[in-house]
């Protein structure tokens, strides 16, 4: 799917890039869903610059939307509007898609994927798995695992033996206790009431 709303990072903050050929209401809906899905990604108070081609009415709508998410809004005056071209097209993986890795993730190796990740092997100390969706490890997990990296608080981490030094879900980070006992069964980590909970799970 071609993105009609794209955030581009620059030294001065985030630049909002809007496809001018798309209806403005469509853009607003897209922007809203984008912000909702990734609110953790944007730090509060981040400066957002918008293209100068918009009308005053449109700008007002935009700024009220952005401010609702705690983002500061600035009108862009100097830069010409950037229209996403075919080359700059940005494919975002479906949340239903998953990446299956059938090997051991060793120290120094990292897997970064926008959807869910399934590792058929171990994640060794120093190895990292960063996924937009859930992470399932059919083996021992001793490295760092980050599920819901783009802010999905419903993401889970499941491992046959969850011995991770650290697990991260969305914006939350949980550290393992200093004396970690060997788990006897598969465990799953998830967020409940703002805390990372680890509970027995079933791997299939």
């Amino acid at each position: 799917m071609r993105e009609c709303v794209v955030f581009k990072g620059s030294r001065h903050g985030l630049q909002l890039v809007i496809d001018s050929s798309v209806d403005f209401d469509v853009i607003l809906t897209h922007l809203r869903s984008k912000l909702e899905s990734a609110i953790d990604f944007f730090t509060e108070g981040a400066k957002i610059k918008a293209p100068a081609t918009l009308t005053d009415r449109q700008l007002q709508d935009l700024s009220s939307l952005l401010e609702g998410f705690g983002l500061r809004f600035e009108t862009e005056e100097t830069l010409p509007p950037v229209v996403p071209t075919a080359q700059a097209e940005w494919e975002e993986a479906d949340s239903g898609q998953e990446l299956v890795v059938s090997r051991t993730i060793r120290g120094g190796q990292e897997i970064i994927y926008s959807g869910a990740v399934v590792v058929n092997g171990d994640v060794n100390p120093g190895g990292e798995v960063i996924a937009g969706g859930n992470v399932t490890i059919n083996g021992t997990c001793r490295g760092i695992v980050h599920a819901g990296a783009y802010g999905d608080k419903n993401a889970t981490i499941t491992a046959k033996r969850l011995l991770a030094a650290q697990i991260r879900i969305a914006g939350l980070i949980a550290r393992a206790p200093d004396n970690l006992a060997l788990p006897e069964q598969a465990e799953m980590a998830y967020i409940e009431a703002g805390k990372v909970i680890i509970a027995p799970a079933r791997l299939n």
């Binding site: 051991t104 060793r106 120290g107 120094g108 171990d122 100390p125 021992t140 001793r142």
Partner: protein, 263 residues
Amino acid sequence: MGEVIVVTSGKGGVGKTTTTANLGTGFALQGKKVVLVDADIGLRNLDVVMGLENRIVYDLVDVTEGNCRLKQALIRDKRFENLYLLPAAQTRDKNAVNPEQMKQLTAELVQEFDIVLIDCPAGIEQGFKNAIAGADRAIIVTTPEVSAVRDADRIIGLLESAGKHDPQLIVNRIRPHMVKKGDMMDIDDINEILAIKLLGIIPEDEYIVVSTNRGEPAVSNPVSLAGEAYKNIVRRLLGEEVPLMTLKEEDGFFHRLKKLFKL
């Protein structure tokens, strides 16, 4: 056509050079034609461990730079006819050679020798990339310490991404009494993390220090336990089925007496 084997570890000081010297000598004892290549340019050591330091005229960098022919740089061992050493340069650094040159060099050596054994420098920089460039297979050396095992894991990952799969493992400097007390990682702990084929375990042996200082690899000494373990590894590398040594702590005179009489 022979085979190129690289001995590597990641962490320094775990016994790569000792292992290279002993495996090389072990292969020579088995009648193979062997060349040991010291890829640790700048910090050469293999020549000292082999007791061949005073015979060096040309080195690996001289060969790659065309200052001499390969044959001129090869040093024949003083004990074994079919064992040779290609020393590293002492005065240069690891950037004096590139992986392409190493590939060429090993390709040339492998025509002549049954076994080309490369002693890899510690670390994961240029020197490591050089050392593994021409290797057919890799032997990872680790000690039963968390830091060494971590680095070994990292090395296995790097070898994989360089297209070199199925490395084999040697666990060096095992102290049975510490393992028994639970103060030292045991083989299962290490296997759990690295999950690669175990080639052998080498017990801690004071004689290794003696042999290294004398420039006589322990493998040629019949009383050294470590030498015995290296001998077994050589046989495994040559395809023989040799069971792993059972490392019992020395539990007193009586036990040994019982063992002597097979009670």
